[in-house]
């Protein structure tokens, strides 16, 4: 008897629980409505409860490893350190021209070796000490000595003896060899100026572990808190020497599931999403949702397919040309990129100095492709592999399309998907036939892409993933890098693109547009074609 009674109680409990859930149905309708563009959008209503003009909520799915600007190679760290630290020069908004920052002006000697920087005299670090020439010297010396990502950019050009402090606010940097893109490199995160007080905490790792979770910058924001894996909060620096930052609080949230992040944006809990986490397809679905805008701009990202010249059949230029002829580029841009991408012929993105619009673009021509394969002795067909890294819809769709295209000329393309570390190891050690890679330069100079892709010293680990080698290209690159004559440099870079287009070590599949979904109430957001991670928190506002 007693037991039966208990049964009854349990059942009642379940019924009550069900009723409580049903009671929450109101909320559900709200949520559903905001999904469909036709119905009045609750989330976009004037009085969205999540709207707060002083707090900017940004979501990304990539964890921040650490905050050492000289040691990190992660975009997700850059986004934060760019706000915490200042540099001699900077990139703003959608511009790829370096603008004065800590350096109000600079002089360059005629031989392109001596750079004299005149620093602003009112800049202070967050602890109140002034930013001086000594801090500049300290920061670059540390970056080089550390030997990590920042050193990769600077150590061929400057070393610890390159600096001469003229006075507190003037410093002369003498390059070891002329390096035309030098000023451009100074606007990167790697050139962040650190408070020399870090030296007291150097330990045995140049302060790496000390600065991993704190900051010693002079930037418009200070680090308020960081709950690893959860959120990182920036606070406006009230004493900032430059233009006062607009957003009082910036809340960077880590949301692993892209679908959850999208939902939070639709509810207004998030103002802006990391531009890399939403695929073109989902962006298409989001278009038209009230309260949400999709910002689109041309970018310097290029998606390309290296063909490993040192691997079997691909050593023959005819085979590579045949491959280039057998890809249906229009269909690819239309179905994979949904039309928001352009085709390019070389490693320099359209819009950048040195871009060669006349570099040969192979047309989709199956007969030509078959003929070339026959000439190369592969009329009975051949079998090749394409390596891609997992978790990227665009690349896996591209690979599928390539597979069906190449099948038409008798090339059996096997798609191999790897985890990122394995993929990286495979392609840099030359164990691949084809790969698929996305690449964005860190500074707007053709030297960047072309040196990585084309110079023989970059083979493999240096990211010349085609293992391409051409003495003429090497010479042209070296000459252009060490010359300040812009006309000559442009000429050289264009020529390199033409040569490489003939020899096709790479097929440049697309230059995709950058797309970011954000709340329509966000004003002043611009996508930088190069620094795709850059979010100008200090310049944006929120207005309903």
């Amino acid at each position: 008897m007693g037991l039966k009674n208990q049964w009854f109680k349990l059942l009642m409990l379940l019924v009550i629980a069900a009723l409580i859930l049903a009671g929450c149905q109101n909320y559900s309708e709200e949520a559903e409505e905001s999904d469909s563009p036709d119905s009045p959008d609750a989330a976009a209503a004037e009085d969205n409860e999540n709207f707060d003009p002083d707090v900017f909520n940004f979501a990304t799915n990539q964890d921040i490893p650490h905050l050492d600007p000289h040691g990190s190679a992660a975009n997700t760290s850059f986004r934060v350190t760019y706000m915490l630290y200042d540099r001699l020069v900077t990139y703003e908004g959608a511009s790829t021209e370096p603008q004065p920052m800590l350096a109000k002006s600079w002089d360059i000697s005629d031989d392109g070796l001596e750079y004299t920087f005149h620093l602003v005299d009112n800049a202070t670090f967050h602890d109140g000490t002034p930013v001086t020439a000594e801090a500049v010297q300290y920061s670059f010396t540390r970056a080089i000595e550390l030997g990590k990502s920042a050193a990769g950019i600077f150590n061929k050009v400057i070393d610890k003896d390159s600096f001469e402090i003229i006075d507190d606010h003037t410093i002369k940097i003498t390059l070891k060899t002329p390096f035309a893109p030098f000023i451009s490199t100074l606007g990167t995160v790697f050139a962040s100026i650190l408070n020399p007080s870090l030296e007291e905490n150097h330990g045995d790792d140049l302060g790496e572990s000390f600065i991993a979770e704190t900051e010693l910058g002079s930037g418009p924001y200070t680090l308020e808190s960081w709950d690893r894996g959860e959120s990182l909060v920036l606070k406006a620096n009230p004493d900032y020497w430059g233009e006062a930052p607009t957003m009082e609080t910036v809340n960077i949230q880590f949301v692993t599931e892209a679908s959850t992040a999208r939902l939070m944006l639709e509810k207004g809990e998030i103002d802006l999403l990391d531009n890399t986490i939403i695929s073109p397809e989902v962006l298409g679905q989001m278009e038209g949702t009230e309260g949400i805008t999709i910002e689109e701009a041309t970018g310097y990202q290029i998606d390309y397919m290296p063909m490993n010249i040192e691997s079997g059949a691909l050593a023959d230029v005819k085979v590579r040309q045949a491959i280039a002829h057998s890809i249906n580029y229009d269909a690819l841009l239309e179905s994979v990129y949904l039309g928001s991408a352009e085709r390019i012929g070389g490693a320099v993105p359209a819009g950048m100095f040195g871009y060669n619009p006349d570099a040969k673009m192979y047309d989709y021509d199956l007969d030509k492709a078959k003929a070339l394969l026959k000439e190369a002795g592969h009329e009975e067909g051949l079998s090749l592999e394409i390596a891609i890294s997992e978790d990227n819809e665009v690349r896996s769709n591209t690979a599928l399309l390539l597979q069906s295209d190449l099948a038409k000329v008798g090339v059996d393309l096997q798609i191999k998907t790897y985890a990122w570390p394995t993929f990286l190891d495979l392609v840099t050690s030359g164990k691949h036939d084809f790969g698929l890679v996305s690449w964005t330069p860190d500074y707007p100079d053709p030297d960047y892409n072309l040196w990585y892709f084309g110079h023989s010293s970059s083979k493999g680990p240096g990211f010349n993933l085609a293992f391409y080698e051409n003495k003429d290209v090497d010479a042209l690159l070296e000459e252009a890098r060490s010359n300040t004559d812009e006309a000559l440099r442009e000429e050289n870079y264009k020529e390199i693109q033409s040569i490489m287009a003939e020899e096709v070590p790479y097929i440049f599949v697309a230059q995709p547009n950058l797309q970011t979904p954000l709340r329509s109430w966000v004003k002043g957001y611009q996508l930088n074609p190069m620094n795709t991670w850059y979010v100008p928190f200090n310049k944006m506002t929120k207005e309903q």
């Binding site: 939902l263 939070m264 690449w439």
Partner: protein
Amino acid sequence: MRMDALKFVGKRLLLMIPILIGISILTFAISNTIPGDPARLILGPKATPEGLEALREDMGLNDPLYVQYGRYMGGIFQGDLGQSTYSQKPVSADLIRYSPATFELTLFAMVITVLIGIPLGIISASKKDKIADQITRIFALIGVAMPAFWLGLLLLLLFYLKLGVFPGSGRLDSGMSPPTYITGMYTVDALLTGNWPVFKAAVMHLVLPGITLAAITIGMITRMTRSSMLEVLKSDYIRTAHAKGAPENRVLYGHALRNGVMPVITLLGMAFGHALGGSVLVESVFSWPGLGRYAVNAITYLDFPAVMGVTLLIAILFILVNLIVDTLYFFIDPRLKHN
């Protein structure tokens, strides 16, 4: 009996050492067979070959594997778990930071498991082959069979997206600051400091990941409780109890449960380990900043010291929990007292 129990515990603790060494060798070997170069991952795709070589040398990656292992174990015996190449912090500091979130989630899941799994099993056994039993068995089966991340996504879809009753990611509402650090478990800390809004938010955030993580263990426990109770209910002393007219509740919870629950307790130890391991997937689905997330990041960056640290920590916990469970027998099972 006390001496016996102490001896037992001591022996088991000693046995931990070879087990842990075995685990460390296995983990070290397996993580090092993943093709990939940790130095390259630190420096990013745009590193220079010279920079890579220098860093490899610096990290000791050029040494043979056994030398690297020896160096690592040498550090461990001095209490040094190494430095995470991902966060650039000592691994021990990272573990201390990430583990409370995972403990909180795992403990919450275990509480749900015990509160739901055991009663369901008892109900199922006492109503053998009736409708209540059938329903319970179906749910237990689904719980065991459903992949955690899939269940997690379904729960998110229903309770976060459609119904909006539970939050979908993280440990607290955005903009809310965590309670004063005492244990690192937000619910406990909020309770201790009497911070009710935070406590409420922390519990709400625990519900969906907790249920997802508990689904499998509930299934395991329910099935075990059911079969073990069925066994006990068939025995003579239960028949005697019924015969002398003891009330059914008393027979079930007084007489039968005590014997029936024995194997379940052993299984709870295993379930705890299962939940700890399962947290890796569940934490990714719910953006839960715990050991699982840390481990996934560590693997992606081939951060070997971190991978080793997480594995060893979980192994130690697993062994300790099972040791506690086994020791419990001395107190629950009177037969052990007299032997």
